[in-house]
């Protein structure tokens, strides 16, 4: 973790986080897709305190992406409770989302015809960052993921790995408390992986937490690791 990265920590958040509450709390999460013979998530419990990095592995279709989407507030579980720093994903939607950064799997989620800089500017505004912190956050995100030379390049002219860096930068840009990463190493080279590791270390150093999902064990170091099997989290 470099000093420069640590120096760009307290850019946000709109409301002070409540460190006495866990960053993420999942209680008894259950989700079954229509016509599926068994639930994709069955009674998942997970609590992440500040500074915790968790790995969740599992076979294709085990439910890792569903679990991340539930934690992100993107889809509702059939049962169970979700809280990020005590906030509810629907009742406190805006404050909840300002504390969550989500990297979906794949390489989608970018506007092919736009250059990198407008992506970062758009996301900073959608994150409702005030003007001063907004500009600093954009600069910090571009720096953190090595995007400065690419800012004026159109996204559809970037390599897949460079696009992944843009997506990562958007996930970290608003200084979230919780970062949810779905197969974050997709197309990333070693240098990109190191940048991600640095960003996670910086997140942990400011009391945030992250979940990293992938089919196989990642090379980054984690505080805890689980496997998602038959809809349940099993310590690895």
């Amino acid at each position: 973790m470099t000093e420069a990265a640590l120096g760009r920590t307290a850019l946000m958040p709109a409301a002070p986080p409540r460190p006495e509450l866990p960053v993420l709390r999942l209680d008894g999460i259950g989700k079954r897709w229509p016509k599926a013979p068994s639930p994709v998530l069955a009674d998942v419990d997970l609590t992440l305190d500040g500074g915790t990095l968790v790995f969740i592995g599992g076979a294709n279709g085990a439910g890792k992406t569903t679990l991340l989407r539930v934690a992100a507030g993107l889809i509702e579980p059939d049962r169970g409770e979700i809280r990020v720093r005590g906030l509810h994903p629907v009742r406190d939607r805006r404050r909840y989302q300002s504390r969550v950064g989500f990297l979906p799997a794949g390489t989608s989620g970018l506007y092919a015809r736009l250059t990198v800089a407008p992506h970062l500017r758009l996301w900073a505004r959608l994150a409702l960052l005030p003007r001063g912190p907004r500009e600093r956050s954009i600069e910090a995100a571009a720096w953190r993921f090595g995007l400065e030379p690419l800012l004026e390049r159109r996204v559809d002219r970037l390599s897949m790995g460079q696009r992944q860096r843009v997506r990562l930068a958007m996930s970290f840009l608003h200084e979230p408390q919780l970062v949810l990463l779905d197969e974050p190493l997709t197309s990333l080279d070693e240098a990109g992986g190191d940048l991600l590791t640095g960003a996670l270390a910086e997140l942990a150093s400011r009391g945030g937490a992250a979940i990293w999902c992938a089919p196989d064990a990642a090379k980054a170091s984690f505080d805890r690791s689980y496997w998602l099997e038959h809809g349940e989290l099993v310590p690895a």
Partner: protein, 270 residues
């Protein structure tokens, strides 16, 4: 106050994004402008064939229909374009970002109307200028300037239809056919190309239950001096009332569609 400023910045960012994407394609404005010019030219010649007291002289009918074409362009931008953009967002995976943003999917979907409406205004002004330069369309000055706020009000009144179709996109994933149906129905039933007085009595009531008729009537009156069938203030009142009621209903429908999609887990499917 800071919340209002950051929300305004987010709204402006979506409009700017849509403008940047639109302008990133070469000759972006050429195709719709040419299309409008062809439409105006076509109706200039059709107008020469029209001799009906319901629409006056050929020149009067030409003026009548040019304003109809302009307003239909605004309607198409409000009803057809935002759902199409939303559909593209779903396919590209960018809608997920909007859903997960503090600004939110519903407000983002509303803001997606901004650029299409601005574009339709530019094309509308260019259409009127072309009709004036090429075929001597006579605009009433300075009343035509009043058409700007009335046009803005009309755009607000048309917006709920676009929001409702966007809600359909979120729920059913394909709703272009609904947008086409709404635009076609409006062009038939609301007096875009011919007066609603020519409609059979049993269907004429439909011209009273949507905002397109008062909008076209008022805009025509202001721009080309067509006589009003009722008071201008009554038309304004209708537009305000339609806007207030329909926007509320459409906003609730859109928020409901997002909620249903989240609950079903289909929100980002396409």
């Amino acid at each position: 106050m800071s919340g209002v400023r950051t929300s305004a910045a987010a709204a402006a960012a979506i409009v700017r994004r849509d403008a940047q994407i639109f302008l990133s394609y070469p000759f972006s404005f050429v195709t719709p402008l040419l299309s409008a010019m062809f439409g105006v030219t076509l109706f200039h010649f059709i107008a020469q064939l029209v001799h009906n007291p319901a629409v006056g002289t050929p020149d009067e009918y030409f003026a009548y229909v040019v304003v109809g074409i302009v307003i239909l362009g605004v309607l198409t931008s409000a009803v057809g374009t935002p759902p199409a953009v939303l559909r593209q967002e779903l396919v590209a995976g960018t809608f997920e970002r909007l859903l997960l943003s503090p600004f939110g999917a519903v407000r983002s979907a509303v803001c997606m109307m901004g650029f299409p409406l601005l574009r339709s205004v530019v094309i509308g002004v260019a259409t009127l200028a072309f009709a004036d330069a090429a075929f001597g369309l006579h605009l009433s000055w300075p009343d035509t300037l009043l058409a700007i706020p009335v046009g803005a009000l009309a755009a607000v009144a048309f917006a709920p239809f676009g929001l409702a179709v966007s809600a359909s996109v979120i729920l059913f994933k394909r709703a272009a056919v609904v947008a086409t149906l709404v635009i076609s129905a409006m062009s038939l039933l609301a007096g875009a190309y011919f007066p609603v007085s020519l409609l059979p009595g049993w269907i004429r009531w439909t011209s009273e239950v949507q905002p397109f008729t008062p909008a076209t009537e008022l805009m025509r009156h202001l721009m080309v001096g067509t006589a009003l069938s009722e008071s201008a203030w009554l038309d304004v009142f209708k537009l305000v009332a339609f806007s207030a009621v329909l926007l509320t209903v459409a906003g609730m429908a859109l928020a409901g569609a997002v909620q249903v999609g989240r609950r079903r887990g289909t929100i980002i499917e396409y």
